[in-house]
Symmetry: C2
Subunit: 297 residues, 2 copies
Protein backbone atom coordinates (compact mmCIF):
# COMPACT_ATOMS: atom_id res chain seq x y z
CA UNK A 1 0.00 0.00 0.00
CA UNK A 2 1.40 3.36 -1.00
CA UNK A 3 1.15 6.39 1.24
CA UNK A 4 1.18 9.59 -0.80
CA UNK A 5 1.53 13.03 0.70
CA UNK A 6 1.58 15.48 -2.22
CA UNK A 7 -1.06 16.46 -4.73
CA UNK A 8 1.49 16.32 -7.53
CA UNK A 9 2.47 12.72 -6.77
CA UNK A 10 -1.14 11.54 -6.67
CA UNK A 11 -2.01 13.40 -9.88
CA UNK A 12 0.92 11.76 -11.64
CA UNK A 13 -0.16 8.33 -10.41
CA UNK A 14 -3.79 9.01 -11.38
CA UNK A 15 -2.81 10.02 -14.90
CA UNK A 16 -0.69 6.90 -15.34
CA UNK A 17 -3.39 4.59 -13.96
CA UNK A 18 -6.16 6.16 -16.05
CA UNK A 19 -4.07 5.82 -19.19
CA UNK A 20 -3.30 2.22 -18.28
CA UNK A 21 -7.04 1.60 -18.39
CA UNK A 22 -7.47 1.22 -14.65
CA UNK A 23 -10.73 2.39 -13.07
CA UNK A 24 -10.01 4.50 -9.99
CA UNK A 25 -12.17 4.93 -6.89
CA UNK A 26 -11.53 7.48 -4.15
CA UNK A 27 -12.96 7.27 -0.64
CA UNK A 28 -12.48 10.71 0.97
CA UNK A 29 -12.43 10.56 4.78
CA UNK A 30 -11.32 12.51 7.83
CA UNK A 31 -9.74 9.35 9.26
CA UNK A 32 -10.69 7.65 12.55
CA UNK A 33 -11.82 4.85 10.32
CA UNK A 34 -14.49 2.35 11.35
CA UNK A 35 -16.72 -0.31 9.80
CA UNK A 36 -18.70 2.42 8.02
CA UNK A 37 -15.60 3.45 6.09
CA UNK A 38 -14.85 -0.22 5.49
CA UNK A 39 -18.24 -0.51 3.78
CA UNK A 40 -17.31 2.44 1.55
CA UNK A 41 -14.02 0.71 0.65
CA UNK A 42 -15.77 -2.57 -0.09
CA UNK A 43 -18.30 -0.81 -2.33
CA UNK A 44 -15.42 0.95 -4.11
CA UNK A 45 -13.55 -2.32 -4.59
CA UNK A 46 -16.54 -3.87 -6.35
CA UNK A 47 -16.59 -1.06 -8.90
CA UNK A 48 -12.95 -0.13 -9.46
CA UNK A 49 -9.51 -1.55 -10.15
CA UNK A 50 -7.72 0.79 -7.77
CA UNK A 51 -9.12 1.90 -4.44
CA UNK A 52 -7.66 5.02 -2.87
CA UNK A 53 -8.57 6.52 0.48
CA UNK A 54 -7.76 10.04 1.59
CA UNK A 55 -7.42 11.14 5.20
CA UNK A 56 -7.62 14.86 5.83
CA UNK A 57 -9.24 16.56 8.80
CA UNK A 58 -10.45 19.57 6.87
CA UNK A 59 -10.26 22.73 8.99
CA UNK A 60 -12.58 24.81 6.78
CA UNK A 61 -15.57 22.58 7.53
CA UNK A 62 -15.32 23.12 11.29
CA UNK A 63 -16.84 26.18 12.95
CA UNK A 64 -14.72 28.26 15.37
CA UNK A 65 -16.31 26.58 18.41
CA UNK A 66 -16.41 23.06 17.00
CA UNK A 67 -14.30 20.00 17.71
CA UNK A 68 -11.48 20.40 15.14
CA UNK A 69 -8.73 20.07 17.78
CA UNK A 70 -10.50 17.17 19.51
CA UNK A 71 -11.29 15.28 16.30
CA UNK A 72 -9.63 11.84 16.64
CA UNK A 73 -6.53 11.19 14.51
CA UNK A 74 -5.47 7.56 15.10
CA UNK A 75 -3.10 7.31 12.13
CA UNK A 76 -1.62 3.87 12.79
CA UNK A 77 -5.05 2.35 13.34
CA UNK A 78 -6.28 4.00 10.12
CA UNK A 79 -3.40 2.72 8.01
CA UNK A 80 -3.87 -0.78 9.45
CA UNK A 81 -7.57 -0.76 8.52
CA UNK A 82 -6.65 0.42 5.02
CA UNK A 83 -4.10 -2.37 4.61
CA UNK A 84 -6.63 -4.94 5.77
CA UNK A 85 -9.21 -3.58 3.35
CA UNK A 86 -6.80 -3.89 0.43
CA UNK A 87 -6.52 -0.15 -0.20
CA UNK A 88 -3.99 0.54 -2.97
CA UNK A 89 -2.98 4.04 -1.90
CA UNK A 90 -3.66 6.34 1.03
CA UNK A 91 -3.51 10.08 0.40
CA UNK A 92 -2.36 11.82 3.56
CA UNK A 93 -1.76 15.49 2.73
CA UNK A 94 -0.63 18.21 5.11
CA UNK A 95 -2.85 21.21 5.72
CA UNK A 96 -0.49 23.33 3.59
CA UNK A 97 -0.74 20.86 0.73
CA UNK A 98 -4.51 21.27 0.68
CA UNK A 99 -4.56 24.99 1.49
CA UNK A 100 -1.42 26.63 0.02
CA UNK A 101 -0.35 29.90 1.69
CA UNK A 102 -2.65 32.71 0.62
CA UNK A 103 -5.49 30.32 -0.24
CA UNK A 104 -8.72 32.18 -0.88
CA UNK A 105 -10.74 29.98 -3.23
CA UNK A 106 -13.99 28.41 -2.07
CA UNK A 107 -16.65 26.29 -3.72
CA UNK A 108 -20.19 26.95 -2.63
CA UNK A 109 -23.40 25.02 -3.29
CA UNK A 110 -25.99 27.57 -2.36
CA UNK A 111 -29.54 26.26 -1.73
CA UNK A 112 -28.70 22.73 -0.59
CA UNK A 113 -26.22 24.06 1.99
CA UNK A 114 -28.64 26.31 3.80
CA UNK A 115 -30.94 24.14 5.90
CA UNK A 116 -30.38 21.30 8.38
CA UNK A 117 -26.69 21.12 9.35
CA UNK A 118 -26.01 24.25 7.31
CA UNK A 119 -28.18 26.27 9.69
CA UNK A 120 -26.24 25.36 12.83
CA UNK A 121 -22.89 25.07 10.99
CA UNK A 122 -22.90 28.09 8.62
CA UNK A 123 -19.61 27.57 6.72
CA UNK A 124 -19.60 23.78 7.03
CA UNK A 125 -20.73 22.82 3.53
CA UNK A 126 -18.61 25.50 1.90
CA UNK A 127 -15.66 23.77 3.56
CA UNK A 128 -16.90 20.34 2.47
CA UNK A 129 -17.54 21.42 -1.14
CA UNK A 130 -14.14 23.11 -1.33
CA UNK A 131 -12.13 20.20 0.03
CA UNK A 132 -14.03 17.58 -1.96
CA UNK A 133 -13.45 19.57 -5.15
CA UNK A 134 -9.73 19.67 -4.38
CA UNK A 135 -9.57 15.96 -3.56
CA UNK A 136 -11.35 15.07 -6.80
CA UNK A 137 -9.00 17.32 -8.77
CA UNK A 138 -5.99 15.70 -7.10
CA UNK A 139 -7.02 12.04 -7.27
CA UNK A 140 -8.87 12.26 -10.61
CA UNK A 141 -10.98 9.20 -9.81
CA UNK A 142 -13.69 7.70 -11.99
CA UNK A 143 -15.75 7.09 -8.86
CA UNK A 144 -15.93 8.67 -5.40
CA UNK A 145 -17.75 7.00 -2.52
CA UNK A 146 -19.53 8.65 0.41
CA UNK A 147 -21.77 7.47 3.25
CA UNK A 148 -25.50 8.11 3.31
CA UNK A 149 -25.32 8.96 7.01
CA UNK A 150 -24.15 12.41 5.90
CA UNK A 151 -27.19 12.79 3.67
CA UNK A 152 -26.95 16.53 3.15
CA UNK A 153 -23.22 16.29 2.44
CA UNK A 154 -23.92 13.65 -0.19
CA UNK A 155 -26.62 15.82 -1.76
CA UNK A 156 -24.24 18.81 -1.83
CA UNK A 157 -21.48 16.73 -3.43
CA UNK A 158 -23.79 15.22 -6.05
CA UNK A 159 -24.97 18.71 -6.98
CA UNK A 160 -21.46 20.12 -7.07
CA UNK A 161 -20.19 17.37 -9.35
CA UNK A 162 -23.14 17.82 -11.68
CA UNK A 163 -22.93 21.62 -11.71
CA UNK A 164 -19.16 21.83 -12.22
CA UNK A 165 -19.39 19.16 -14.94
CA UNK A 166 -16.89 16.95 -13.15
CA UNK A 167 -16.15 13.71 -14.93
CA UNK A 168 -16.69 11.53 -11.85
CA UNK A 169 -19.44 9.25 -10.57
CA UNK A 170 -20.65 9.71 -6.99
CA UNK A 171 -21.76 6.61 -5.11
CA UNK A 172 -23.70 6.73 -1.82
CA UNK A 173 -23.42 3.76 0.54
CA UNK A 174 -26.05 2.90 3.21
CA UNK A 175 -25.25 3.71 6.82
CA UNK A 176 -23.58 1.00 8.87
CA UNK A 177 -24.93 0.64 12.43
CA UNK A 178 -23.96 -0.78 15.80
CA UNK A 179 -25.98 -3.74 17.13
CA UNK A 180 -28.34 -1.34 18.93
CA UNK A 181 -28.86 0.69 15.76
CA UNK A 182 -26.56 3.67 16.48
CA UNK A 183 -25.08 4.88 13.18
CA UNK A 184 -21.30 4.47 13.07
CA UNK A 185 -19.45 7.77 13.38
CA UNK A 186 -15.90 8.73 14.21
CA UNK A 187 -17.41 10.87 16.95
CA UNK A 188 -19.04 7.92 18.76
CA UNK A 189 -15.80 7.17 20.63
CA UNK A 190 -16.15 10.53 22.38
CA UNK A 191 -19.44 9.47 24.02
CA UNK A 192 -19.17 8.55 27.69
CA UNK A 193 -21.06 5.45 28.78
CA UNK A 194 -24.32 7.11 29.75
CA UNK A 195 -24.49 9.29 26.65
CA UNK A 196 -23.58 6.32 24.48
CA UNK A 197 -26.47 4.39 26.00
CA UNK A 198 -28.86 7.26 25.37
CA UNK A 199 -27.64 7.81 21.79
CA UNK A 200 -29.91 4.94 20.76
CA UNK A 201 -32.80 7.40 20.80
CA UNK A 202 -31.71 8.61 17.37
CA UNK A 203 -32.50 5.39 15.56
CA UNK A 204 -35.53 4.79 17.77
CA UNK A 205 -36.94 8.13 16.74
CA UNK A 206 -36.39 7.31 13.07
CA UNK A 207 -38.05 3.94 13.51
CA UNK A 208 -41.02 5.42 15.37
CA UNK A 209 -41.65 7.77 12.46
CA UNK A 210 -41.29 4.99 9.96
CA UNK A 211 -43.78 2.79 11.84
CA UNK A 212 -46.29 5.64 12.09
CA UNK A 213 -45.96 6.30 8.37
CA UNK A 214 -46.47 2.61 7.65
CA UNK A 215 -49.69 2.69 9.63
CA UNK A 216 -50.96 5.63 7.58
CA UNK A 217 -49.75 8.77 9.38
CA UNK A 218 -48.90 11.40 6.74
CA UNK A 219 -49.06 14.58 8.83
CA UNK A 220 -45.64 16.20 9.23
CA UNK A 221 -46.55 17.73 12.58
CA UNK A 222 -47.71 14.39 14.01
CA UNK A 223 -44.62 12.59 12.79
CA UNK A 224 -42.31 15.23 14.22
CA UNK A 225 -44.16 15.15 17.54
CA UNK A 226 -43.50 11.42 17.71
CA UNK A 227 -39.84 11.94 16.87
CA UNK A 228 -39.39 14.66 19.47
CA UNK A 229 -41.16 12.50 22.02
CA UNK A 230 -38.61 9.74 21.47
CA UNK A 231 -35.66 12.12 21.60
CA UNK A 232 -36.98 13.68 24.83
CA UNK A 233 -36.49 10.35 26.59
CA UNK A 234 -32.71 10.97 26.57
CA UNK A 235 -31.83 13.28 29.47
CA UNK A 236 -28.36 14.03 28.07
CA UNK A 237 -29.66 15.00 24.62
CA UNK A 238 -30.36 18.46 23.23
CA UNK A 239 -32.08 18.43 19.85
CA UNK A 240 -30.28 20.62 17.31
CA UNK A 241 -32.88 19.85 14.69
CA UNK A 242 -35.48 17.24 13.78
CA UNK A 243 -36.86 18.02 10.36
CA UNK A 244 -38.78 16.63 7.45
CA UNK A 245 -37.76 17.86 4.02
CA UNK A 246 -37.96 16.98 0.36
CA UNK A 247 -35.43 14.18 -0.21
CA UNK A 248 -34.22 15.79 -3.44
CA UNK A 249 -34.19 19.54 -2.84
CA UNK A 250 -34.03 19.50 1.00
CA UNK A 251 -36.79 22.14 1.00
CA UNK A 252 -39.16 21.90 4.02
CA UNK A 253 -41.75 19.14 3.60
CA UNK A 254 -45.41 20.12 3.20
CA UNK A 255 -47.82 19.53 6.09
CA UNK A 256 -49.01 16.30 4.49
CA UNK A 257 -46.28 14.07 3.08
CA UNK A 258 -46.62 12.93 -0.54
CA UNK A 259 -43.15 12.40 -2.02
CA UNK A 260 -39.98 10.77 -0.65
CA UNK A 261 -39.15 12.77 2.45
CA UNK A 262 -35.96 12.98 4.44
CA UNK A 263 -36.32 12.75 8.19
CA UNK A 264 -33.08 14.27 9.44
CA UNK A 265 -31.91 14.49 13.03
CA UNK A 266 -29.03 16.22 14.76
CA UNK A 267 -28.72 15.79 18.51
CA UNK A 268 -26.04 17.03 20.90
CA UNK A 269 -25.16 14.68 23.77
CA UNK A 270 -23.45 15.99 26.87
CA UNK A 271 -21.17 13.68 28.78
CA UNK A 272 -21.72 13.77 32.56
CA UNK A 273 -17.98 13.80 33.32
CA UNK A 274 -16.99 16.60 30.93
CA UNK A 275 -20.04 18.76 30.29
CA UNK A 276 -18.15 21.08 27.92
CA UNK A 277 -17.13 18.29 25.58
CA UNK A 278 -20.49 17.63 23.97
CA UNK A 279 -20.82 15.26 21.01
CA UNK A 280 -23.13 16.13 18.12
CA UNK A 281 -24.54 13.14 16.24
CA UNK A 282 -26.66 13.03 13.11
CA UNK A 283 -28.83 10.36 11.55
CA UNK A 284 -31.53 10.22 8.90
CA UNK A 285 -34.01 8.09 7.07
CA UNK A 286 -35.85 8.61 3.83
CA UNK A 287 -39.56 8.07 4.34
CA UNK A 288 -41.59 6.89 1.36
CA UNK A 289 -45.29 7.73 1.62
CA UNK A 290 -47.34 4.98 -0.08
CA UNK A 291 -46.84 3.40 -2.48
CA UNK A 292 -43.91 1.89 -0.59
CA UNK A 293 -40.62 1.90 -2.43
CA UNK A 294 -37.22 0.66 -1.46
CA UNK A 295 -35.98 2.52 1.58
CA UNK A 296 -32.81 3.79 0.01
CA UNK A 297 -31.38 7.14 -1.15
CA UNK B 1 -11.74 21.18 -37.22
CA UNK B 2 -14.23 19.55 -34.87
CA UNK B 3 -17.08 21.47 -33.31
CA UNK B 4 -18.13 19.92 -30.01
CA UNK B 5 -21.24 20.90 -28.11
CA UNK B 6 -21.40 18.63 -25.06
CA UNK B 7 -19.21 18.35 -22.00
CA UNK B 8 -19.32 14.58 -22.21
CA UNK B 9 -18.00 14.51 -25.78
CA UNK B 10 -15.12 16.85 -24.99
CA UNK B 11 -14.21 14.93 -21.84
CA UNK B 12 -14.10 11.70 -23.81
CA UNK B 13 -11.87 13.30 -26.43
CA UNK B 14 -9.63 14.84 -23.77
CA UNK B 15 -9.16 11.52 -22.03
CA UNK B 16 -8.26 9.79 -25.30
CA UNK B 17 -5.83 12.54 -26.34
CA UNK B 18 -4.12 12.68 -22.93
CA UNK B 19 -3.66 8.92 -22.93
CA UNK B 20 -2.29 9.10 -26.47
CA UNK B 21 0.42 11.38 -25.11
CA UNK B 22 -0.90 14.56 -26.72
CA UNK B 23 -0.40 17.83 -24.87
CA UNK B 24 -3.68 19.79 -24.82
CA UNK B 25 -4.15 23.55 -24.70
CA UNK B 26 -7.46 25.31 -24.13
CA UNK B 27 -8.16 28.92 -25.03
CA UNK B 28 -11.40 29.91 -23.25
CA UNK B 29 -13.19 32.83 -24.93
CA UNK B 30 -16.57 34.52 -25.19
CA UNK B 31 -16.22 34.59 -28.99
CA UNK B 32 -16.18 37.72 -31.17
CA UNK B 33 -12.64 36.67 -31.90
CA UNK B 34 -9.96 39.13 -32.97
CA UNK B 35 -6.18 39.30 -33.33
CA UNK B 36 -5.82 39.20 -29.54
CA UNK B 37 -7.43 35.76 -29.46
CA UNK B 38 -5.29 34.79 -32.42
CA UNK B 39 -2.20 35.60 -30.31
CA UNK B 40 -3.54 33.31 -27.57
CA UNK B 41 -4.02 30.54 -30.13
CA UNK B 42 -0.52 31.01 -31.53
CA UNK B 43 0.98 30.90 -28.04
CA UNK B 44 -1.00 27.72 -27.35
CA UNK B 45 0.15 26.14 -30.60
CA UNK B 46 3.79 26.64 -29.64
CA UNK B 47 3.29 24.73 -26.40
CA UNK B 48 0.76 22.02 -27.21
CA UNK B 49 -0.08 19.28 -29.72
CA UNK B 50 -3.79 20.02 -29.72
CA UNK B 51 -5.28 23.50 -29.53
CA UNK B 52 -8.88 23.84 -28.45
CA UNK B 53 -10.90 27.02 -28.18
CA UNK B 54 -14.15 27.40 -26.29
CA UNK B 55 -16.79 30.00 -27.08
CA UNK B 56 -19.32 30.66 -24.36
CA UNK B 57 -20.85 34.01 -23.46
CA UNK B 58 -21.09 33.31 -19.75
CA UNK B 59 -24.22 34.88 -18.24
CA UNK B 60 -23.04 34.65 -14.61
CA UNK B 61 -20.19 37.10 -15.20
CA UNK B 62 -22.50 39.85 -16.43
CA UNK B 63 -24.32 42.13 -13.99
CA UNK B 64 -28.09 42.69 -14.39
CA UNK B 65 -27.53 46.05 -16.15
CA UNK B 66 -24.57 44.96 -18.26
CA UNK B 67 -24.26 44.15 -21.94
CA UNK B 68 -24.99 40.39 -21.97
CA UNK B 69 -27.72 40.69 -24.61
CA UNK B 70 -25.67 43.12 -26.71
CA UNK B 71 -22.44 41.10 -26.50
CA UNK B 72 -21.44 40.29 -30.11
CA UNK B 73 -21.89 36.66 -31.24
CA UNK B 74 -20.52 36.41 -34.81
CA UNK B 75 -20.36 32.60 -34.94
CA UNK B 76 -19.41 32.14 -38.61
CA UNK B 77 -16.64 34.73 -38.34
CA UNK B 78 -15.37 33.02 -35.17
CA UNK B 79 -15.30 29.55 -36.71
CA UNK B 80 -13.50 30.93 -39.76
CA UNK B 81 -10.81 32.53 -37.59
CA UNK B 82 -10.42 29.25 -35.70
CA UNK B 83 -10.02 27.31 -38.93
CA UNK B 84 -7.42 29.77 -40.18
CA UNK B 85 -5.54 29.53 -36.89
CA UNK B 86 -5.39 25.74 -37.12
CA UNK B 87 -7.61 25.13 -34.10
CA UNK B 88 -8.23 21.39 -33.66
CA UNK B 89 -11.56 21.61 -31.86
CA UNK B 90 -14.02 24.35 -30.92
CA UNK B 91 -16.18 23.80 -27.85
CA UNK B 92 -19.50 25.55 -28.33
CA UNK B 93 -21.78 24.58 -25.44
CA UNK B 94 -25.33 25.76 -24.85
CA UNK B 95 -26.17 27.65 -21.68
CA UNK B 96 -27.91 24.56 -20.32
CA UNK B 97 -24.82 22.46 -20.96
CA UNK B 98 -22.76 24.79 -18.78
CA UNK B 99 -25.48 25.50 -16.22
CA UNK B 100 -27.70 22.40 -15.86
CA UNK B 101 -31.22 23.07 -14.52
CA UNK B 102 -31.10 23.73 -10.78
CA UNK B 103 -27.45 24.82 -10.92
CA UNK B 104 -26.34 26.39 -7.65
CA UNK B 105 -22.59 25.81 -7.43
CA UNK B 106 -20.18 28.73 -7.54
CA UNK B 107 -16.44 29.11 -7.24
CA UNK B 108 -15.25 32.21 -5.46
CA UNK B 109 -11.76 33.69 -5.14
CA UNK B 110 -12.25 36.06 -2.28
CA UNK B 111 -9.57 38.79 -1.84
CA UNK B 112 -8.40 39.09 -5.45
CA UNK B 113 -12.00 39.52 -6.67
CA UNK B 114 -12.82 42.49 -4.49
CA UNK B 115 -11.07 45.55 -5.90
CA UNK B 116 -10.81 47.08 -9.40
CA UNK B 117 -13.40 45.50 -11.72
CA UNK B 118 -14.80 43.52 -8.77
CA UNK B 119 -15.92 46.76 -7.13
CA UNK B 120 -18.04 47.95 -10.05
CA UNK B 121 -19.00 44.41 -11.13
CA UNK B 122 -19.74 42.63 -7.82
CA UNK B 123 -20.50 39.08 -9.04
CA UNK B 124 -18.26 39.25 -12.12
CA UNK B 125 -15.28 37.26 -10.90
CA UNK B 126 -17.48 34.68 -9.19
CA UNK B 127 -18.96 34.09 -12.63
CA UNK B 128 -15.52 33.97 -14.23
CA UNK B 129 -14.07 31.60 -11.63
CA UNK B 130 -17.11 29.33 -11.89
CA UNK B 131 -17.16 29.08 -15.66
CA UNK B 132 -13.38 28.69 -15.97
CA UNK B 133 -13.45 25.88 -13.41
CA UNK B 134 -16.14 24.14 -15.45
CA UNK B 135 -14.29 24.63 -18.74
CA UNK B 136 -11.08 23.22 -17.26
CA UNK B 137 -12.98 20.24 -15.85
CA UNK B 138 -14.58 19.62 -19.24
CA UNK B 139 -11.57 20.10 -21.52
CA UNK B 140 -8.98 18.68 -19.09
CA UNK B 141 -6.15 20.59 -20.78
CA UNK B 142 -2.50 20.59 -19.75
CA UNK B 143 -2.39 24.32 -20.50
CA UNK B 144 -4.94 27.13 -20.58
CA UNK B 145 -4.19 30.49 -22.16
CA UNK B 146 -5.57 33.91 -21.21
CA UNK B 147 -4.83 37.50 -22.20
CA UNK B 148 -3.00 39.90 -19.92
CA UNK B 149 -5.44 42.67 -20.85
CA UNK B 150 -7.78 41.11 -18.30
CA UNK B 151 -5.09 41.30 -15.63
CA UNK B 152 -7.35 40.81 -12.62
CA UNK B 153 -9.12 37.90 -14.33
CA UNK B 154 -5.76 36.27 -14.98
CA UNK B 155 -4.73 36.78 -11.34
CA UNK B 156 -8.03 35.26 -10.14
CA UNK B 157 -7.61 32.25 -12.44
CA UNK B 158 -3.99 31.65 -11.44
CA UNK B 159 -5.01 31.74 -7.77
CA UNK B 160 -8.02 29.46 -8.34
CA UNK B 161 -5.95 26.87 -10.16
CA UNK B 162 -3.31 26.92 -7.45
CA UNK B 163 -5.83 26.80 -4.58
CA UNK B 164 -7.99 24.04 -6.03
CA UNK B 165 -4.85 22.05 -6.90
CA UNK B 166 -5.85 21.83 -10.55
CA UNK B 167 -3.39 19.95 -12.70
CA UNK B 168 -3.18 22.64 -15.37
CA UNK B 169 -0.69 25.33 -16.35
CA UNK B 170 -1.98 28.89 -16.85
CA UNK B 171 -0.26 31.01 -19.48
CA UNK B 172 -0.75 34.79 -19.78
CA UNK B 173 -0.17 36.41 -23.19
CA UNK B 174 0.66 40.11 -23.67
CA UNK B 175 -2.07 42.42 -24.89
CA UNK B 176 -2.39 42.92 -28.63
CA UNK B 177 -3.06 46.52 -29.70
CA UNK B 178 -4.39 48.53 -32.64
CA UNK B 179 -1.97 50.79 -34.50
CA UNK B 180 -2.90 53.70 -32.23
CA UNK B 181 -2.33 51.58 -29.11
CA UNK B 182 -5.94 50.73 -28.22
CA UNK B 183 -6.01 47.26 -26.65
CA UNK B 184 -7.99 44.79 -28.75
CA UNK B 185 -11.33 43.90 -27.22
CA UNK B 186 -14.50 42.30 -28.51
CA UNK B 187 -16.27 45.40 -27.22
CA UNK B 188 -14.29 47.81 -29.45
CA UNK B 189 -16.70 47.20 -32.35
CA UNK B 190 -19.44 48.80 -30.27
CA UNK B 191 -17.57 52.13 -30.16
CA UNK B 192 -18.95 54.82 -32.49
CA UNK B 193 -16.36 56.84 -34.45
CA UNK B 194 -15.88 59.67 -31.97
CA UNK B 195 -15.66 57.38 -28.93
CA UNK B 196 -13.29 55.09 -30.82
CA UNK B 197 -11.06 58.07 -31.52
CA UNK B 198 -11.10 59.10 -27.88
CA UNK B 199 -10.46 55.57 -26.59
CA UNK B 200 -6.78 56.18 -27.34
CA UNK B 201 -6.59 58.05 -24.02
CA UNK B 202 -6.36 54.72 -22.22
CA UNK B 203 -2.97 53.78 -23.60
CA UNK B 204 -1.82 57.40 -23.52
CA UNK B 205 -2.58 57.52 -19.81
CA UNK B 206 -0.61 54.31 -19.24
CA UNK B 207 2.31 55.68 -21.23
CA UNK B 208 2.26 58.99 -19.39
CA UNK B 209 2.58 57.16 -16.08
CA UNK B 210 5.33 54.97 -17.41
CA UNK B 211 7.31 57.97 -18.68
CA UNK B 212 6.91 59.76 -15.36
CA UNK B 213 8.10 56.68 -13.49
CA UNK B 214 11.09 56.38 -15.82
CA UNK B 215 12.04 59.95 -15.02
CA UNK B 216 11.94 59.22 -11.29
CA UNK B 217 8.35 59.88 -10.17
CA UNK B 218 7.47 57.32 -7.48
CA UNK B 219 4.53 59.08 -5.78
CA UNK B 220 1.25 57.25 -6.32
CA UNK B 221 -0.78 60.44 -6.04
CA UNK B 222 1.33 62.24 -8.65
CA UNK B 223 1.19 59.33 -11.06
CA UNK B 224 -2.58 59.01 -10.70
CA UNK B 225 -3.00 62.76 -11.21
CA UNK B 226 -1.13 62.44 -14.47
CA UNK B 227 -3.27 59.49 -15.52
CA UNK B 228 -6.53 61.24 -14.66
CA UNK B 229 -5.32 64.31 -16.52
CA UNK B 230 -4.86 62.27 -19.67
CA UNK B 231 -8.22 60.53 -19.30
CA UNK B 232 -9.97 63.87 -18.76
CA UNK B 233 -9.02 64.89 -22.28
CA UNK B 234 -11.70 62.52 -23.62
CA UNK B 235 -15.09 64.22 -23.42
CA UNK B 236 -16.99 60.98 -23.95
CA UNK B 237 -15.14 59.14 -21.19
CA UNK B 238 -16.23 58.53 -17.60
CA UNK B 239 -13.52 56.98 -15.44
CA UNK B 240 -14.78 53.91 -13.58
CA UNK B 241 -11.43 53.51 -11.85
CA UNK B 242 -7.77 54.41 -12.27
CA UNK B 243 -5.76 52.64 -9.60
CA UNK B 244 -2.31 51.57 -8.58
CA UNK B 245 -2.05 48.29 -6.73
CA UNK B 246 0.40 45.56 -5.83
CA UNK B 247 0.90 43.51 -9.00
CA UNK B 248 0.72 40.24 -7.02
CA UNK B 249 -1.97 40.74 -4.36
CA UNK B 250 -3.89 43.63 -6.03
CA UNK B 251 -3.88 45.38 -2.65
CA UNK B 252 -3.75 49.22 -2.91
CA UNK B 253 -0.25 50.48 -3.64
CA UNK B 254 1.56 52.49 -0.95
CA UNK B 255 1.98 56.25 -1.41
CA UNK B 256 5.54 55.72 -2.71
CA UNK B 257 5.95 52.88 -5.18
CA UNK B 258 8.63 50.27 -4.42
CA UNK B 259 7.58 46.92 -5.92
CA UNK B 260 6.02 45.99 -9.28
CA UNK B 261 2.76 47.88 -9.37
CA UNK B 262 -0.27 47.42 -11.55
CA UNK B 263 -1.72 50.55 -13.08
CA UNK B 264 -5.26 49.49 -13.96
CA UNK B 265 -7.84 51.55 -15.82
CA UNK B 266 -11.53 51.09 -16.56
CA UNK B 267 -13.25 53.79 -18.57
CA UNK B 268 -16.80 53.99 -19.87
CA UNK B 269 -17.25 55.62 -23.28
CA UNK B 270 -20.62 56.99 -24.33
CA UNK B 271 -21.48 57.00 -28.01
CA UNK B 272 -23.02 60.27 -29.17
CA UNK B 273 -25.70 58.54 -31.28
CA UNK B 274 -26.90 56.08 -28.62
CA UNK B 275 -26.07 57.54 -25.20
CA UNK B 276 -27.54 54.53 -23.35
CA UNK B 277 -25.26 52.04 -25.08
CA UNK B 278 -22.05 52.87 -23.31
CA UNK B 279 -18.91 50.77 -23.80
CA UNK B 280 -16.68 49.97 -20.84
CA UNK B 281 -13.02 49.38 -21.72
CA UNK B 282 -10.14 48.28 -19.51
CA UNK B 283 -6.39 48.42 -19.91
CA UNK B 284 -3.38 48.06 -17.64
CA UNK B 285 0.35 48.18 -17.37
CA UNK B 286 2.71 46.82 -14.76
CA UNK B 287 5.06 49.55 -13.58
CA UNK B 288 8.47 48.50 -12.33
CA UNK B 289 10.06 51.03 -9.98
CA UNK B 290 13.86 50.96 -10.42
CA UNK B 291 15.72 48.76 -10.94
CA UNK B 292 13.96 48.33 -14.28
CA UNK B 293 12.85 44.83 -15.10
CA UNK B 294 11.10 43.40 -18.08
CA UNK B 295 7.71 45.04 -18.47
CA UNK B 296 5.74 41.84 -18.38
CA UNK B 297 3.27 40.09 -16.02
Amino acid sequence: MRVIETARALQTLAEAERCAGQRLALVPTMGALHAGHRALLDAARKRADRVWLSIFVNPTQFGPKEDLARYPRPREHDLKLCREAGVDAVFLPSEEEMYPPGSQTFVEVTELSQGLCGRSRPAHFRGVATVVTKLLLIAKPHLAVFGEKDYQQLAVIRRLVQDLRMDVEILGVPTVREVDGLALSSRNVSLAAEARQQARVLVRALEAAERALASGELESAELLDLVRGELAKASRARVDYAELCDAQTLAPAPSVLAVPTLLALAVVFRNASEPDASVRLIDNRVLYPKPRQENRL
